[in-house]
């Protein structure tokens, strides 16, 4: 073996390569035949020098003047390290498939690789990319020499390359790049329109679906449900069954219409009965505000029962009257029967009210004096509702109960209905005045007769409350006196003109409105004309002259006692002379002690 010092670097170290052909015929160590062809520090074995299926043991030796070192030997079989040439004749064309173009790539194997005989089996790989982009798209093509590429961008220009690899060898280098341009197969404008159409269709579908989902709530919003009539005791099923008798019987109140007796005429009487019991402090809870609220509200209630929007509603009473109630409570109030004249707006038929003793009776039954005026509950126009009204009234009334009112015999303050259980305590009682501007609902025929007395003005129904006067025997001695006020007429300004019954005729003007906060529960005095003068609240006095009229007594009652008439004028104060002023013991806050009032001389 001889070393060929072919190349020595600066440091005077030369390298040479030895190889040992382990399967060769002669097991001799050979030196690298060619150091040049493959470049620096390389050894080139051409085809003549190489055999396959033979292990070559190759060692590189470095020598210089100091010595020589051997590298680790490398044992290789040539056949395992084959790297072919890249494929040749790469051809790319654009083909059409149902108006959608695709690329057809074809190539040839390297001419030096003998794939025809099967000696070398090559596998190919293609990579594609758009001209502008950086990332290649790889496709393994297997042993085939043709490949199709789909999903192209219209109008884009592509670069294509291919490489190959033997079964057990290395990948070749990438072939030369092939450029191709894809024609515009998708016009831009059309695509935009299509996109817009699809998008809008999608939005429509979503809107429609949303609408459908919320159709129920939308219906409520746009077309609010009209509350149907609710008549308590009205059974739809019965109606469907078609048995009218049952329906009506269900509607009927057991105690209504008052089958007993009642003298129809009594119902027609329009008296305003004022009872002023003596000996007890009756707090007259006169809540004008309350009344205002009560009377005004017709439409403000959110009562579920239609047609009941006025003071009768349970909620209304509590809500609107609560304030007043508190105010009143703090004050000693005198009950005055004339409170009924307060507002015009919500007059209800007193007859009805009267007729429904239930409304009134609870108060009596409880033994408490209740402020009737503060409980301007609408007349029960649904005969089937007495219990409810009763309860509501009761509740409302109770709100306004004065604390100390407890007149066991004060039942006289309530409307009594003939034939009712309260007869025992029947006394001349208050008649409740109601103003309602609702059409009186179906009334019993007995009631309706009294309606005639009502004068409706536009939408104001004024119902006078006729008070039935209890038999005189029930009257409490002395202390009880009742006054009656009858409605004379209603003038055009929604003013109810009352006149005392049997006493005289005077016009009592009722002002249509009462400003809130007016409190006419204070009695200023009684004038010589037997007029009870009320003064407004605590604030103002002597503002407007309101006159009370003495009842003239269009009708006669057996009642005696001082007649106290009240007029209500929102802005008016009642001034009266007080002939018996001395006798009037004004309460601390200006209220007349009813007990004393009772002692007023009768006129």
């Amino acid at each position: 073996m001889h070393a060929v010092f072919w190349k020595c670097n600066i440091r005077n170290t030369c390298y040479y390569m030895l190889f040992l052909c382990l399967f060769c015929s002669s097991e001799t160590v050979y030196e690298c035949p060619d150091y040049r062809t493959a470049g620096e520090n390389s050894c080139f074995f051409n085809k003549n020098n190489t055999s396959i299926w033979v292990n070559y043991n190759i060692t590189v030796v470095a020598t210089n003047t100091l010595g020589s070192t051997f590298s680790d030997p490398m044992d290789i079989d040539v056949v395992y390290i084959v790297k072919p040439n890249p494929p040749e004749r790469l051809a790319v064309t654009v083909e059409e498939d149902k108006s959608w173009p695709f690329l057809r790539v074809s190539w040839e194997p390297p001419h030096k690789a003998d794939t025809r005989s099967g000696w070398i089996t090559l596998m190919y790989e293609i990579r594609v990319k758009l001209e502008q982009e950086n990332k290649w798209e790889m496709h393994l093509a297997g042993q085939q020499k043709m490949f199709n590429i789909f999903s192209l961008r219209s109008g884009g220009s592509y670069l294509v390359q291919v490489r190959c690899k033997p079964d057990h060898g290395f990948w070749s280098e990438w072939s030369s790049t092939s450029y191709i341009e894809v024609p515009d197969y998708f016009p831009r404008e059309k695509s935009v329109w299509i996109l817009i159409t699809v998008f809008s269709a999608f939005i429509f579908v979503i809107l429609f679906w949303l609408l459908h989902m919320n159709s129920h709530s939308l219906k409520h919003c746009i077309l609010p449900p009209v509350p149907g009539p609710k008549i308590k005791g009205f059974d739809k099923q019965l109606l469907k069954n078609g048995k009218s008798e049952e329906i009506f019987s269900a509607l009927m109140v057991p105690d209504f219409p008052p089958t007993t007796s009642s003298n129809f005429e009594d119902l027609l009487v329009e008296y305003l009965e004022v009872y002023i019991p003596e000996g007890q402090e009756l707090t007259l809870q006169e809540s004008k505000d309350l009344h205002d609220g009560c009377l005004k509200s017709e439409g403000s209630t959110s009562d579920s029962d239609s047609g009941r929007g006025s003071c009768d509603s349970h909620t209304l009473l509590i809500d609107n009257c609560g304030e007043a109630k508190e105010e009143e409570r703090q004050q000693d109030q005198e009950r005055i029967g004339m409170e009924a004249q307060r507002h015009q707006k919500d007059w209800e038929e007193k007859v009805l009210n009267y007729a429904h003793e239930d409304i009134v009776s609870p108060d009596m039954s409880s033994g408490r004096v209740k402020t009737w005026p503060s409980v301007f509950s609408p007349l029960p126009q649904y005969s089937s509702n007495p219990p409810d009204q009763q309860s509501s009234l009761e509740m409302a009334k109770q709100h306004y109960l004065s604390d100390s009112l407890f007149l066991p015999d004060s039942s006289s303050t309530y409307l009594t209905q003939p034939g009712h259980s309260t007869r025992e305590s029947l006394e001349p009682s208050y008649c409740e005045f109601r103003l309602s501007n609702k059409q009186p609902h179906q009334l019993h025929p007995q009631m309706q007769a009294s309606q005639q007395l009502h004068m409706t003005h536009s939408d104001v129904n004024i119902s006078s409350i006729g008070c039935k006067q209890a038999p005189a025997g029930l009257q409490s001695p002395d202390l009880r006196s009742t006054q009656y006020v009858e409605v004379q007429k209603v003038n055009k300004e929604d003013m109810v003109l009352l006149q005392p019954v049997g006493k005289g005729c005077r016009h009592i003007e009722l002002c249509p409105k009462m400003p809130q906060g007016d409190n006419y529960s204070k009695v200023k005095g009684v004038n010589s004309d037997n007029i009870l003068l009320l003064q407004r609240g605590v604030m103002e006095e002597d503002r407007c002259p309101c006159e009370d009229q003495e009842t003239n007594g269009a009708r006669e009652h057996s009642h005696t006692a001082s007649t106290v008439t009240t007029t209500q004028k929102p802005t008016a104060c009642i001034h009266t002379a007080m002939p018996v002023q001395d006798e009037i013991a004004l309460a601390v806050n200006g209220y007349v002690d009813t007990a004393i009032m009772c002692t007023l001389p009768t006129y």
Binding site: W53, W119, K145
Partner: protein, 241 residues
């Protein structure tokens, strides 16, 4: 008259024994021939619907390709932790037990070998490795190598593939009429290494490595021969080769 007929029958039955026997023999022969014919017809029918040779060769070459890939991976796993000392004392490949078999050394020689010879060479080589692979699989369990587990699995796979390839090649040889007629000769290449690959660690690893490198080469030869055969058989499908 009836009795005479009966008598005649009896007489015929008895007298005709020799003729009947001959007839029976003929009948039997016909039956056998018929059976054979029937069977051959069956075989022919089966053969008509059978997988073509090119497909069979394709499958065989795929199997041999897998075999060679496995052996390559094995040697690479082994080399990753092979002590450098072992390289120095590596036995020469001429010492592989299959080196006595005359195989073509290059492409030109290989292309000149007949198909039948190629097939017989492939089968011989494969046959020669069934025993050594068994030795390898038993000795790998005690192989002092960090990747011993993966090597053991691969050895098992090697055995399976080798066996299935051998069976496939046997069936293939039986299918080709040319090869059947020529009665392929399968050289016997006994493995003389015994069951032991060494006692100490170095010798174990060295022998293991040596055996595997021999196998790697032989599997490559088998793969090359089969792929040449495949291309020759697929003359109807020029796109393959």
């Amino acid at each position: 008259m009836e009795s005479t007929r009966r008598k005649r029958k009896k007489q015929r039955g008895g007298e005709d024994t020799k003729a009947d026997q001959e007839k029976k023999r003929e009948m039997a022969q016909r039956k056998i021939n018929g059976n054979k014919l029937f069977m051959t017809v069956l075989y022919a029918v089966a053969a008509c619907g059978a997988v073509p040779i090119s497909d069979l060769l394709d499958r065989a070459s795929q199997r041999s390709d897998t075999l060679h890939s496995l052996s390559t991976m094995l040697t690479q796993d082994l080399d990753s932790h092979f002590p450098p000392i072992g390289r120095m004392i590596m036995p020469r490949p001429s010492m592989c037990h299959t080196s006595s078999l005359q195989t073509p050394n290059d492409k030109e020689q290989a292309l000149q070998v007949s198909e039948s010879d190629l097939m017989s060479l492939a089968r011989s080589l494969l046959q020669a490795w069934s025993d050594p692979l068994e030795v390898l699989s038993t000795s790998v369990k005690t192989l002092p190598h960090p990747a011993q587990n993966s090597i053991s699995n691969k050895i098992k796979e090697l055995q399976e593939h080798s066996k299935s390839l051998g069976d496939g090649l046997n069936i293939l040889s039986g299918k080709v009429r040319k090869w059947v007629r020529q009665a392929q000769t399968i050289s016997s290449l006994p493995y003389s290494g015994g069951n032991d690959i060494g006692q100490d660690r170095i010798s174990k690893l060295t022998n293991f490595h040596f055996l595997l490198s021999c196998f790697r080469r032989d599997s490559h030869k088998i793969d090359s021969f089969l792929k040449v055969l495949r291309c020759r058989a697929a003359k109807l499908q020029p796109e393959m080769c």
